[in-house]
């Protein structure tokens, strides 16, 4: 039996090599649905929005008027663009480190002997799977200045009431709290997977040497988790930069534009003001910032940890 199977395998391999050219047609057949969608809604759009960013177009006029770099010049001289960029950075800097600390802590605790692990994991992961619109609505109610749960709890510990969604600074903090709540479960799962990949004997050896908890964490866990941490940092940063749904429902970008973030600005310009060219230019600048930040982080991690990322 085994020899017969091996023989069949060999002849097919030879036949497949000879048929490499003939395979083009069936391959196209299998790929065609994906390719059609992909070319129409990914490939063409990538180039077309680049083209649009050099044009003035309200979508209803027949032609696009070429205006060179005017959209980009306008963007860099528009104070609103800078405010939106600043808000996006504040949101990212506010959520990413907090998110990572909480999710790592949770993953480390759940990696130990804990009663009711299944329940805990489910509870922590639940906000990740539910719709951002409903989640933001729940938080609007929690942040209610007069009857909201949060102000009540703050009052219990002697803190003054805050008008969460109507004061610029408070609204950004409210958005950050909700953002961390909604996403830290994802990173908890990723950190857990990373922790499970660390061999037990590293810890056993360290214990024999008399290493304490902190020493084990700092000398084994953190270095071993570097690839995971690095990956989580980049992914969290990218998704924080792209925040939209919860902003739309929780604050609608307000008050006074204090929570207006990049995607909200793109959405507004494209689909409220129909400034398709300008919105495309903003989208491309946004893309460039994300790409630069990612490359910068990869370089930084390579020099710091000597770790080959990606």
């Amino acid at each position: 039996m085994p020899s017969k199977n091996a023989g069949i395998g060999k002849t097919t391999v030879i036949r497949r090599d000879r048929n490499s050219k003939k395979n083009i047609l069936p391959a196209l057949g299998f790929l065609s649905p994906t390719l059609v969608i992909f070319c129409t809604f990914v490939l063409f759009p990538v180039f077309f929005s680049f083209y649009l960013s050099f044009h003035k177009w309200n979508m209803f006029s027949s032609g696009q008027e070429f205006i060179g770099l005017a959209n980009y010049r306008r963007l860099f001289s528009d104070p609103e663009f800078w405010m939106v960029l600043k808000n996006t950075f504040i949101y990212t800097i506010g959520t990413v480190p907090l998110n990572m600390v909480i999710s790592l802590l949770t993953a480390i605790i759940l990696n130990r002997q804990i009663a009711g692990k299944r329940f805990l994991r489910t509870a922590i992961f639940t906000p990740v799977v539910i719709s951002p619109v409903a989640a933001a609505l729940i938080w609007r109610w929690i942040y209610d200045p007069n009857f909201g749960l949060l102000n009540y709890l703050m009052n219990l510990v002697g803190l003054p009431a805050v008008n969460w969604l109507n004061e610029p600074k408070a609204a950004m903090i409210a958005l950050i709290i909700m953002g961390v709540w909604k996403t830290y479960g994802t990173n908890m799962v990723l950190f857990s997977a990373g922790l499970q990949g660390i061999p037990d004997h590293y810890y056993e050896a360290a214990e024999i040497d008399g290493a304490g908890w902190w020493s084990k964490f700092w000398n084994i866990t953190m270095p071993m988790l570097t690839p995971t941490t690095f990956f989580i940092m980049i992914m969290s940063m990218i998704s924080s930069f792209q925040v939209f749904d919860i902003v739309y429902v929780l604050t609608s970008g307000g008050p006074l534009g204090a929570t207006k973030v990049m995607v909200f600005y793109i959405y507004e310009n494209a689909f409220k003001f129909f400034e398709m060219g300008y919105a495309s230019a903003v989208a491309y600048v946004f893309f460039a910032i994300l790409a630069v930040l990612t490359v910068f982080q990869v370089k930084f991690m390579q020099t710091r940890a000597g770790y080959e990322a990606v």
Binding site: N5, G9, T12, S20, N23, I24, P26, F30, L31, P33, T34, L35, I37, F38, F41, V42, P45, V46, S49, L52, Q113, I114, G116, L120, A123, I124, F125, P127, V128, V129, I130, S131, V133, A134, L137, I138, W141, N146, L149, Y152, T186, V189, L190, F231, I232, M235, F241, Q242, Y248, V263, Y267, A270, F271, M276, S280, A283, F286, F287, L290, V310
Partner: protein, 280 residues
């Protein structure tokens, strides 16, 4: 003495860790409990200070009132229609493409595959505007097609299935080819049945993503009868700004299907997250 002291120290630490993690988990699900309880409260129990956790009487008719205030039934059907069609569509298109990438040798396969992977890095904001334009030119704005068709393929799904297909031994297929099976039948009768875990992961992820989608539906749909639950809920918010009983009933309805799927298929969610993690 010394050993006892260390032991009791460990127990104290264990207790502290339990308290910490349970407090965190409870704080994380408290908003859900608050939503559920508010959704069955009388308005008199809602606008009180200090807030009351439990309703004095359960008002399940809040749900009926929410259904009367907005066509949530219709929104539901729309959401399910869009999410299910996109999910089934992706299962088909992604397995076909993944099969080509995993099993067929053809010129330019590697290049095409890497272009594919590369596009996962492009933020959707860049492609959003022209995609809208394409739908506008096709005359598909404000239709189910606008919500469904762009979602009928996925680079992530193709990648996920290709990785899985590569782990399936080729011998099975080769025997089938000898028996004269065509490529499509091999995919359908041999590879697909062996790939159930990967397909389930993709199905659940796609369903969740599409059911929870907001921005795309917001952009391409105007008519009330085409609105999804998420879109309907956001519009409901604008109309019933402080009717928290109705808003929370609506939120419960918008989260329920995903929560049910999540509780029964938790491992696939976890697997999907870990897989999307590994892909980087």
């Amino acid at each position: 003495m010394n050993i006892d002291f260390r032991k009791s120290g460990r127990i104290t630490k264990d207790i502290l860790l339990h308290i910490l993690i349970y407090a965190l988990a409870l704080a994380t699900i408290a908003p859900f409990i608050w939503m559920l309880l508010t959704s069955v409260k009388d308005i008199g129990d809602i606008f009180v200070y200090p807030p009351k956790w439990l309703p004095s009487k359960f008002h399940f008719e809040n749900y009926r009132r929410a259904f009367q205030a907005a066509p949530f039934g219709r929104y539901y059907l729309n959401s399910l229609l869009v999410a299910l069609t996109v999910t089934i569509g992706q299962l088909i298109t992604c397995s076909m493409a993944a099969y080509a990438f995993a099993r067929l040798q053809f010129k330019g396969r590697e290049v095409l595959f890497y272009i594919f992977l590369g596009t996962m890095m492009i933020p959707y904001q860049v492609t959003m505007i022209p995609s809208f334009m394409v739908l506008y030119w096709l005359g598909w704005i404000d239709s189910y097609k606008a919500m469904i068709v762009p979602g009928l393929a996925s680079a992530f799904g193709t990648f996920l299935l290709r990785q899985f297909f590569l782990t399936i031994p080729k011998e099975l297929e080769e025997a089938a080819y000898i028996d004269g099976c065509g490529k499509f039948r091999v995919l359908w009768q041999i590879i697909i049945p062996l790939s159930k875990p990967a397909l389930a992961t993709l199905a659940i992820f796609t369903f969740m993503g599409t059911f929870n989608d907001f921005i795309w539906a917001l952009i391409v749909v105007n008519s009330d009868h085409l609105r999804t639950v998420q879109l309907g809920l956001a519009i409901f918010r604008d109309r019933y700004i402080t009717d928290w009983d109705l808003l929370m009933a609506g939120s419960v309805m918008a989260t329920l299907p995903i929560l049910i799927v999540f509780f029964f298929a938790q491992k696939y969610f976890i697997k999907g997250i870990t897989l999307s993690g590994i892909k980087g």
